[in-house]
């Protein structure tokens, strides 16, 4: 039986349930000093620091400031040909005299323990001069607004206009125009394992342990900033306690640890505490969106227009740029639907807040929420069932490939198949009857639907032409061990999504061994080959192809060796279940015996036959810049009319991520992604005081995450449309749940409100007070 397509738990999970996970903070370097940062308590301030009182504390080894690290670390600045004219000032590991966001590191203390280092941070005599701070994106654009960085003309970082067809005419001629202003509050990733760094310098090589999604990329940046040869930097990411996008950026604090280690030649350790994580990990998805949709008399969408204002934070995150989110948002607008006219305006502004960055789903959850809110409004205005409105307007599979009105490449999307499957899963007539009965009994119930298109597994065409040093090709090296088992190293990273298990299954089938006989490692630049790591849901679609290619190469080599030994033609032999067999499947020789002969008894190998026990394959997709996937989400919610609290009672999702390598893992990604999206819709917010700009979400008591009672059981369905351009046909799955859930929940809440009071909510997360206001229960 092939291993591909089987539900198999990730091999490492056995170790983890026994307490044997090895995360960043589980490693120590002998003689290490502990690091704490003094971070700016103000969103914008000039400062001078007297570190003498801190240095005088027993146990404090050093206190470093911006100038100290400048001796070993160059500044970095985000630029990208994809965002011409981007305004984003250079960054240094520690702010120099002026902090531009609350939580920005300004001094670094090295001490015998973390507690002593924190005491010392407090002992630093800091003289702060508060400067006017900009936190709201709209205020950033106001005429005469204070500047986030002196010397800039205004707070605009980047903008673009997008136009296709004749949008003005389409709106003028429309039978119906619906519009909405939607506000999205920033939130953050909250991987349960915080970021951190453990650094060692041996005089020639910098070794840095990180909790990160892309060890090779970090190796490159560390080398560039610290002026080291890239092969004199080793980055090790062991078990990673969740990434979700927040662990794919260059952070000042991590760079500071590396620089200080290089400067002082001492092993250093820093692990963020939760408050540091909440205030200094990237935030994401702060947008104010004004959008409208034109519909003709037949109920066909003809045009969409969107005006998106994005708050970037104090800089555009390095190296990919925070503006990627706005671009991703724009591409997703209306993507499931058929219309020709589009107008988009994107404005990205700087603010005195921590930089935002790519987080699970990037801009897609917002693009989807905006689109699906307008779809609901249009259907409602027409007095029509929105399911029917969608079915009519969704692109049929035979209308692809095509480029959407907002410029997205669509191929192989089977929306109607997914809709049909979703309708069956949900049992729509029964559910509608149930909702009607519930409403008649006074319950405030609502059903919300969202159709998603998501662009996954970015190929070299995205960051390559942008001039951003991000690898979009990946490599797998596989070796036959003398035990007959396979060991492999992948440039794809394991961050809990289980991709090493998926690759093991691919290698198993490619070579002809059981999946249990394959071990896949990743994350250490000293042993794993160059490649991109974990981003854009690319593990199966790109890493899987690399694993297949490496496995097939190795298979050919092993068959060549065996054929020579057995005096048979290679194509008369096969590899099955760990043995060389004849064409009929009769075992001739185990792989263990073959490996031992090739390795230890080389004198027995025939003349000129040295096929090798290892194979390497680099996969580079030449066609299709991204692989589009699609899905249908539905949420049933109930509102408590007394408290305004929303409960998600049931949830359904149908996804099409192409070939499913391992259903257990894909289902895990779907469900986990939906949970994240429900959190985004109902709970999660990074809040700032409107007057002072103070960050108010610094603990997990203030930043609300979904807990077990908040997430219902999620019923899943699969449509499997393999991507025809690759061997395995997988597309991305890791972010799909998050792309659709906020939209489905928003629509469900508004469905409930429409029936109860005719009100609506337009801000996410959906606050109970806003719900009460929409119900007319509160002024």
């Amino acid at each position: 039986m092939p291993a591909i397509g089987q539900s198999m738990p990730r091999a490492a999970s056995r170790r983890m349930v026994a307490g044997g996970g090895r995360y960043l903070d589980d490693h120590a370097a002998r003689g290490e000093w502990h690091v704490a940062f003094l971070r700016s308590p103000f969103p914008h301030a000039r400062f001078t620091l007297d570190t003498a009182p801190a240095r005088a504390l027993p146990g404090v080894e050093a206190v470093l400031l911006a100038a100290d690290l400048a001796a070993v670390c160059r500044p970095w600045q985000t630029t990208s040909a994809s965002f011409p004219g981007l305004v984003s000032p250079a960054q240094t590991p520690l702010a120099d005299g002026r902090a531009t966001w609350q939580g920005e590191p300004v001094a670094m203390i090295l001490a015998a323990s973390r507690a002593i280092a924190e005491d010392a941070a407090e002992a630093i005599a800091a003289d702060w001069t508060e400067l006017p701070a900009i936190t709201s994106p709209e205020a950033a654009l106001a005429p005469g607004a204070p500047l986030v960085h002196p010397g800039l003309a205004d707070n605009r970082a980047w903008g673009q206009e997008w136009r296709r067809g004749e949008p003005e005419a389409a709106f003028a001629e429309a039978a119906l125009v619906v519009e909405e202003r939607l506000v999205f509050t920033r939130h953050t990733g909250v991987a349960l394992e915080p970021r951190g760094a453990v650094a060692e310098w041996d005089g020639g090589t910098l070794m840095l342990r990180l909790s990160h999604q892309m060890p090779h990329q970090m190796r490159l940046h560390l080398a560039e900033q610290l002026d080291l040869a890239v092969n004199r930097v080793r980055v090790i990411c062991g078990d990673v306690g969740g990434g979700f996008g927040l662990k794919m950026h260059v952070y000042q604090d991590e760079m500071a640890v590396a620089a200080a280690c290089r400067l002082l030649s001492r092993p250093l350790r820093w692990v963020a505490d939760r408050m540091e994580s909440l205030m200094a990990d990237i935030h994401a998805r702060e947008h104010v969106v004004q959008a409208r949709m034109a519909v003709d008399a037949q109920g066909m969408i003809t045009a969409m227009e969107i005006d998106d204002l994005q708050g970037l934070g104090a800089v555009s995150i390095y190296p990919r740029s925070s503006t990627v989110e706005a671009m991703s948002l724009l591409r997703v607008v209306g993507a499931p639907y058929r219309f020709a006219h589009a107008l988009g305006r994107t404005t990205c502004v700087l603010q005195n807040k921590v930089p935002t960055g790519q987080y699970r789903g990037v801009g897609a959850p917002i693009g989807c929420a905006v689109t699906e809110r307008l779809v609901e409004k249009a259907a409602r205005a027409r007095g029509e069932d929105s399911w029917q409105f969608r079915t009519r307007n969704l692109l049929r599979a035979d209308e692809m490939p095509r480029i959407s009105a907002f410029g997205a490449a669509l191929h192989g999307l089977h929306h109607h198949t997914a809709m049909d499957q979703a309708a069956a899963l949900i049992d729509l007539p029964a559910l509608r009857a149930e909702i009607a009965a519930g409403r008649a009994a006074g319950r405030v119930l609502g059903l919300g639907v969202a159709v998603t298109v998501e662009f996954t597994a970015s190929g070299p065409a995205i960051y390559g032409p942008a001039g951003v040093g991000v690898a979009a090709t990946d490599t797998v090296v596989v070796t036959l061990e003398p035990t007959g088992e396979l060991s492999a190293q992948a440039s794809i990273s394991e961050i809990g999504q289980g991709i090493t298990q998926g690759l093991a299954q691919v290698l198993a089938d490619a070579v002809g061994v059981p999946a249990s006989a394959v071990q896949v490692g990743a994350g250490d630049t000293a042993s794993s080959p160059h490649g991109g790591g974990a981003w854009a849901s690319r593990g199966a679609a790109i890493g899987g192809e690399a694993a297949w290619g490496a496995g097939r190469l190795l298979r050919t080599q092993l068959l060549e060796g065996a054929a020579a030994l057995l005096q048979a033609a290679p194509d008369s032999l096969d590899i099955r279940d760990g043995a060389i067999t004849d064409a009929a499947g009769v075992p001739r020789m185990t792989l263990a015996a073959l490996a031992r002969t090739m390795l230890f008894r080389g004198h027995e190998m025939p003349q000129g036959v040295t096929p090798g026990l290892s194979a390497t394959y680099q996969y580079r997709r030449e066609a299709d810049p991204t692989l589009a996937n699609n899905g249908v989400h539905a949420a049933l919610v109930e509102i408590d009319p007394l408290t305004g609290l929303v409960r998600v009672l049931r949830y359904w999702m149908v996804g099409d991520c192409g070939r499913v390598l391992n259903p257990l893992l894909v289902d895990g990604q779907y469900r986990g992604g939906v949970a994240t999206g429900i959190g985004e819709a109902l709970l999660e917010a990074c809040r700032y005081d409107q007057e002072t700009g103070q960050f108010m979400s610094g603990t997990l008591a203030d930043y609300l995450l979904p807990m077990a009672p908040d997430i219902p059981d999620i019923t899943l369905g699969h449509v499997e449309t393999p991507y025809p351009g690759s061997v395995l046909g997988a597309k991305g799955a890791g972010e799909s749940g998050t792309c659709g859930a906020p939209a489905a929940v928003l629509n469900a809440v508004n469905d409930a409100l429409a029936a109860a009071s005719g009100g609506a909510v337009t801000e996410m997360p959906i606050h109970p007070m806003a719900v009460l206001r929409a119900l007319g229960a509160m002024a």
Partner: protein
């Protein structure tokens, strides 16, 4: 090395079935001491302020948040961590967690298993609501909780089947 000024205390306790004595930093939490001094890194620190449940361990047989207990408070106590946690409940949970994909990154898992074991030890009915309630102080950012609920139910069923089987013999 810590400076002379750092206040320390002598403690003696049982850790995972073995008597231990040592000096602890007065302000160090129990979970930090176990992790840093004893190398018991199975208990994790997700927040250090008593919300996430990643630091759960057993203190005198009761599951506590190891980040909210000081190491000195463990003087004379019996401490058990995920590395040594045993008993049929934990064994069944480990098996079921793997089987049902109840962990992805695994960072929440040790705390989750210890907390779920309390419920199984209580022997009450294992409705999905009851399990969700019992685990409401343990955050998981990866799984969406459903596979965890599945695993706890499955472990409960496996234990009942074992008990039923034993009773029948």
């Amino acid at each position: 090395m810590l400076p002379l000024e750092e206040p320390l205390a002598e403690i003696a306790c049982m850790v995972n079935g073995r008597p231990i004595s040592g000096r602890v930093v007065l302000r160090q939490s129990l979970v930090e001491w176990l992790r840093a001094e004893l190398g018991l890194t199975g208990s994790h620190v997700g927040c250090a302020h008593g919300v996430c449940g990643a630091c759960h361990l057993r203190l005198d047989g009761v599951v506590v948040r190891g980040c909210l207990v000081l190491a000195v408070q463990a003087d004379g106590a019996d401490v058990e961590t995920i590395e040594a946690a045993s008993g049929p409940e934990v064994t069944a949970l480990r098996e079921a967690f793997v089987e049902h994909g109840a962990l992805q990154c695994g960072f929440c898992t040790p705390g989750m298993i210890l907390q779920a074991a309390e419920l199984l030890l209580g022997g009450g009915p294992l409705s999905r609501e009851a399990i969700r309630e019992q685990l409401s102080g343990n955050y998981c950012r990866c799984t969406g909780y459903q596979p965890i609920i599945d695993a706890v139910q499955a472990a409960g069923a496996a234990l009942q089947a074992q008990a039923g089987g034993a009773g029948g013999e």
